[in-house]
Symmetry: C2
Subunit: 327 residues, 2 copies
Amino acid sequence: MVKITDVARRAGVSPSTVSYALSGKRPISDETRRRVQAAVRELGYRTHARARGAAGGRSGVLALAVPMRSGVHVPVVTQFAVSVVTAARAHGHDVLLLTQGEGEKGIGRVAETGLADALVVMDVQLQDPRLPLLRSLPLPSVLIGVPAEPDGLTCVDLDFGAAGELCVDHLARLGHRTVALVGSPPEVYVRRTAFARRLVQGFTASAVYPCGTDRDAARAMAERLLREQPALTGVVVHNEPLLDPLIDAFEELGMRIPEDLSFTAVCPTPVAASARIPLTSVTVPSAELGTRAVHLLIRKLSGAPVPQATLLPPRLTERASTGPRPA
Amino acid sequence: MVKITDVARRAGVSPSTVSYALSGKRPISDETRRRVQAAVRELGYRTHARARGAAGGRSGVLALAVPMRSGVHVPVVTQFAVSVVTAARAHGHDVLLLTQGEGEKGIGRVAETGLADALVVMDVQLQDPRLPLLRSLPLPSVLIGVPAEPDGLTCVDLDFGAAGELCVDHLARLGHRTVALVGSPPEVYVRRTAFARRLVQGFTASAVYPCGTDRDAARAMAERLLREQPALTGVVVHNEPLLDPLIDAFEELGMRIPEDLSFTAVCPTPVAASARIPLTSVTVPSAELGTRAVHLLIRKLSGAPVPQATLLPPRLTERASTGPRPA
DNA sequence: CTGAAAGCGCTAACAA
DNA sequence: TTGTTAGCGCTTTCAG
C-alpha cells in the first residue's frame, strides 16, 4: 500500500504538504502542487479513507436512508438511490445504504461511529419520528419530502401540490368538470406521508380516493368511482402499481380512454410511457431529486448556506390518455 | 462523544482490556468482562468505526456492487440489496453501495482506500472483466452468479440449469412435448450473462428465443413462436418485464392460458403471483441469495473455509398458468 | 489474565 | 509558502 509519506518523499516535500496539496486547505505553490500531483499519479496513491477519518477529517461517505414499506414504489426508490450514488461519486463521496427497517437506529449509529459525514433521508413523513434526532445531530442532512415542521432542516421534493393542480388544470382546459384523485394505499395517508398530503392539496375541490395496488382494488375502485361520481370524466392517479390495473378495470367497465375518461398520472416518466395506454403524466423526477439532495449536502458540508425547502416545479407531459370531455 | 478511555476509566480497567473484551481477541475474566459490558451500556459507548479502521482493524463495512443495465430487473436487485443490508446488519456490518457504472473503478477504490472489508458483486458475467481484479484483491469477495472460471472465487446463485429443467419436467409431466424458452433481451446473451447461459442448458432439447421487453417485442415473439413451432403447447419465460405483455400477446392471438398454452416463469414469487394470470414459476430467491452471500463473506472474514460455488436448488410453485396438454 | 506503550495513516494546529 | 509535531480513537504488540 502506498501511503502519504511515500508520496511526500517522492515529491521531495513533507507529508503535510501533500495533504494540503490534495485537500486545497491552504495555499500551495504551483510548482509544489505539480510535483505532488505527479508523485501521486506515478505511485497511484489514494488517501486511506479510514485513516483520514480517524484524524478528524471527513470520511468521504454519505449515508442514504431508503424506505422499505408498502406504498413506496421500488423503481422510484432505486432510481433515486442510483442518482444519489452517481452525484455523490461526482463529488468524491461514497454512499452507505441504510434501510428504514432500522429507523432511527441506523441514523444514530452512523452518526456516533463517524461512519458517514452526512445523511440523505428519503420518504419523510409529515410527523416523522426521526426529525428530532436529525435536528440534534452534528452531521448535516437533507430530507426527501417536506415535513410539517421543516425548521432547522433541509428538504427537497417535487411540488406535489402544484403537480396535482397541474393535472387538474390540464383536465379543466380539456373541458372536464368532475375529476377524482386516486391516491396511494390508505396506509400512506394514515401515516400522513408528506407527499401524499401535499398532492391532495391540489384537489380541494375534488374527490380523493386512497386505493390499494392490486387488481381487485383497482376493479373495486373503478366501480365505486363510476357509482359515486356519475359525471366523472377525469382521474388523476398517484399510485404507480395501480396504473395498469386501473386502466384495465375502467375498460372492462366500458369506459374507453381517453374517449370516455381522461386519465392522468403522477409517476416517473418511464412508467407513464410504457403503460398499456401511454399516459399523460406529471413526472416524479427521482433522479433530479437525488442529484439535488447531494448538491445541497455538499454545500452544507462546505459550510455554505442552503434553502430550507427546495420544491421542484412539476412538468406535465401529454400522452395518449387524455382528451376533450365527451359530449 | 464517549470513547474507549471513558469506558476503561468507568470499568476500572485499561483501554486495551476494553478493546479485547469487546473483540474477544484474547481471554478476559468473566468478572472483568461483566464490568466492561456494564460500563459500555451505561455510557452508551459505540466504537468509532473510522478510528478502528485507522488502527488496522476492520471497518465493519461491506461493499455491494449492484448492476444498473438493461436486462436486469430492478425489483430483484432491490430485494437482493435489502437482504444484503439486513444480513450485514445482523452481523454488525454496514453496506456501501457501489453502482456498476463505475465498474472496476469502484471495486478498486473501495479496496485501496480501505473503505470496506469485503465485497459482494452482483450480476457476474461468464467472462467478467472484474474477475482478475477480484482475484488479486486482498479483500474477500462473494459473487452473485457463476462465471466460466470460478477458481479462486466464491460464488452463489440459483441453479438456473436445474430451474430450466424443473420447468420442462413440470411441463413434460403434464404431457407437453414441444416447449420453448423465451429468455432475456438479446444483449444479455450476447454479454454471456452467466445465469442466462446456465438456464439455457436445461433446454438443450428445446428451442431458445431471446426477447426484448416491450409490448411490440412480446407480440412479435408470440407470433414467431406460433409460426415456427406449430406444435407448441408450453413456454418457459425467463424475462420478468415481458411476462404480462407476452400473456396478453398470446391471448390476443387466440391462445388461452392454460387451456391452449401452459406458461411457466423463472422469476421472483411476487411477480409470478401478481401477474394477470397467476403463473406457475420457479422463484428467483433474491433474498436468500443475499443472505447467503453475506454469510459466506462473514465466514471468509473470520478465516473459515467456504465452498467455491453455492447453487441454490430451484423450487417450482404451481399456479394457474399450467395445465395438461390440449387434446 | 491484564496493562503500558507504540503505532495505524492521516490531518491540523503551531512554527517558521 | 512550507515543515515539524501532536494527536484522532482505536488496536495490538510487548511485558508483566
